[in-house]
Amino acid sequence: MLNIADSCAQAVAEIHDGATVMIGGFGVAGQPVELIDALIEHGATGLTVVNNNAGNGDVGLARLIQLGRVRKIICSFPRQSDSWHFDAKYRAGEIELEVVPQGNLAERIRAAGAGIGGFFTPTGYGTPLAEGKEAREIDGRHYILEHPIKADFSLTKAHIADKAGNLVYRKTARNFGPIMAAAATTSIVQVAEVVERGQLDPEVVVTPGIYVDTVVRIDAPAQTDPREEL
């Protein structure tokens, strides 16, 4: 049954030390800014974080890394012009890094939610990221075997939730949201609006409520101009 939390603090309260936490968003789009802030405040540590990047600037995921709360990060693109906190921790040997091609990252997250035990993907074959992975030629094409990435918790951002937990998103802010919600044991979603059951058209629901455990409404979510993040 859907838990509608009163605050982000309440929404993230059960995240325990050592948890694997997926964090949605690609750039600023779909980033659950307020939930990440609440996780920082909450204090859980020794986390494994799954995100497309490894934090930007001094806030959000970057701040979580700076504070030493992240033991390991699984992402596709850690190195950016403003990923200095990750860079420092990495060079100091204080954070473990698993780099995954973005499509394999997405498919591995999808596989976790979909009960797939592993899949053969052509992406990465013959590259350093295939080292140690099983390779196989199928029907004349080369593949490597990848396994699901599951999480204890996911923090994502959607646009509207109904009281059955069904979600719709806005534009490219959809990105990792639907697959992370499905891959996590407990999925926590921040939304701009919560409506009654029956107020979302069942044809346009993107994430069915079965994948959503907790929603929290953020009255005025942070909106960064994407250009400031480059």
Binding site: G30, V99, Q102, G103, A106, T123, L129, K171, L230
Partner: protein
Amino acid sequence: MSEQTTHQQAVAALRTSETPLNHDELAKIVAADIPAGSYVNLGIGQPTLVANYLSPEDDVTLHTENGMLGMGREAQGDEVDPDLINAGKIPVVETPGCSYFHHADSFAMMRGGHLDCCVLGAFQVDRKGNLANWHTGKPDAIPAVGGAMDLATGAKQTFVMMTLLTKNGQSKLVEECTMPLTGVACVSRIYTDKAVFLIEEDGVVVRETFGIDFDELQEIVGVPLRPAAR
């Protein structure tokens, strides 16, 4: 004379240019080579310029791997929406007939061979069409791959756009890539400031040269070249 005809004549002139092409001139040639009705992904950097030379009559649909088909031009002023960005995290606009989808669906689209063409930058390409564009191989570099491997292996055709020579005057078209690979035998064409190369089963063909003759080109590239059949 229509605007379209004028453009075609300008491109035809560029194909026999007696001087090396600048980035915009090269982008015009790539754009002209993309068949009408194609679905295309343009990588970050130089390939992005190609979008400026696609006309509406071409009916080319742009894909951005963060979850959109029918991506429009860069957003200006009030058009900027933090929820609508491209893979380079630049705000963009919608085009009529566009659609949104999540990250796993977006990369399934790419990996499944549904895109007709993808245009990427490169550090090195070799005579077998192997591509290196994500990692210089320096031991202290932090690895970051993003969607590069998915793009390289996913599309029906992968085009590379790059300057032919490094800053030190070395050819980036090489006998065999020495940098870590992005994808195996994935590149079919290389667009450079000095020439357009086709990677074929039995070797590298020079389709056009710009301000350099075949023998000079052969000398600086090193890899055995063949002129295109006339």
